[in-house]
Symmetry: C2
Subunit: 339 residues, 2 copies
Amino acid sequence: MSTERDILITEVALRDGSHAIAHQYTVEQVKKVAKALGEANVPYIEVAHGDGLGGSTLQYGLSRTNEMELIEAAVSVCGDSKVAVLVLPGIGTITDLKQAVSIGAKMARVATHVTEADVSAQHLSKAKEMGLETVGFLMMSHMAPVEKLVEQAKLMESYGADTVYMVDSAGALLPHQVKERVRALRQNLQVNVGFHGHNNLSLAMANTLAAIEEGAQRIDGSIRCLGAGAGNTQTEVLIAVLENMGIKTGIDLYKLMDTAEEVIAPLLQSPQEITRDNLVLGYAGVYSSFLLHAQRASKKYGIDSRDILIELGRRKVVGGQEDMIVDVADELARQRKAN
Amino acid sequence: MSTERDILITEVALRDGSHAIAHQYTVEQVKKVAKALGEANVPYIEVAHGDGLGGSTLQYGLSRTNEMELIEAAVSVCGDSKVAVLVLPGIGTITDLKQAVSIGAKMARVATHVTEADVSAQHLSKAKEMGLETVGFLMMSHMAPVEKLVEQAKLMESYGADTVYMVDSAGALLPHQVKERVRALRQNLQVNVGFHGHNNLSLAMANTLAAIEEGAQRIDGSIRCLGAGAGNTQTEVLIAVLENMGIKTGIDLYKLMDTAEEVIAPLLQSPQEITRDNLVLGYAGVYSSFLLHAQRASKKYGIDSRDILIELGRRKVVGGQEDMIVDVADELARQRKAN
């Protein structure tokens, strides 16, 4: 039986959601979730460390269970659903990808910062050689102007991506910005366009609908909002909204609602709310890893950590430039003294 | 010092939020919240039982503290902010309203079902006589076609409403439906248009932006989502989003964020999430009071309570018609047997 689907959903609770539970998934939990998602007819289920294959490190947080065991567990129970893996070049290797494929992963999503698509070339082409479906995943998309985003997406297309995702990692984009970007991607790419949103500004659903309106064909969701920061577009809610709009996903809404309530909610260490910290990250449009550094600098220089984060967002500081945080705090403190 | 405001915000956590904490507000809590909201320069603060003045009954839930004490407490500490009260004709009386005014309430919001604006005539005209700012509040707006909504809004305007609100009580409206409705109201009313949303479909923020885009000048929010069902448009997040869009509310964002985190979050008995029950209510577009009845009928007739609620939504069943729930369950059970 073939299923009619206008939009292809990828469920990311077993990858992005890993951040929300400090990478503590067990084989038992992953089996329960993946089985339920398979029964609800979710087409793609992403499984990996929150920072992708190989992410289990002191720097990114150690996983309780080896991710290959989790991928194998998901594959064993998810029926017709396909298991996807995320991989960030520099963290996850081709060897990691090969291993994931050998145990049943069917899709590789290769993620880079929005201005660094060139580092995805080898991973995307190797994934294609292995016969995988391929996705190029442009993170922190709000940081690049539209033309730059399109240029980088075209690079990923040239490396063999079947779909290019615009990823609003900080949950910072506004609906009109999503529309403008997805429209430009659709006009300039031959391949499919996807959207992955975060809810830090309570706009994940609005942005997802904006992306669909402009022709995005693939959408990520996390059931019960189980994702980094304030979580992602809440999958079971999205399916309900799309049903009310007459857009088909092929997913069984009742089964998904039951899974959210009975399987996912009990896993959550604390429910996904828009807290002050998550809101600030979305408002400033910066990496979540900056938060703690900014709070430390705030104490040292007597500047509100929010002012520091907003200034970092203005300067489009990226991961790896954490030393800029102290510079900015120092500069703001001098300015205040001078005024 | 006058404050420039493109949009006038009414904070409803001390009224709609009363539902979320089973009407257990104390004088101490209300003082703390209202003081903080006043310091953040929030123009209007609504204080009352969740179902409006006089709502403290066995039927709607007993308040821990007499609402007049809570109103008085809010007025005493909220500085330049104005205290608003909600009143539903049939529950709250003109006498209740007079008492609220005598202790400092400055705005009356008179609420009726979207097709029953005629019952607001007396309350609105008396409120006007008392020198109050007046709002007509059309609840369950998704249940009426656009023409009906406009007709009812015009009635409220004729009774003396300074603003008419479109209220998405069940959190059931989609952004394009909000746009269509607000546009029609703006075209047909002389007075201001407001919007009050709920987040059952994760669309409160999207719908609020849609309403503003079409010219709504007044918006309700609840800090930390503290409202009935899945809560309202989260006020502090809305202010952040509007700042990023260049729309002025005159509200101090940092103070509001701090209030949400430090004053409101500790009050919540459980955080505001989109649970299965809340999602079903938004998806079906029915009254929250139907939920328990539908779950009971589900057990008796062996029909999924969601199917019952969706059918009730299709038939646009309203509060007071709870006997229809059993009829619908019985009918669905017979249909299944026949098939």
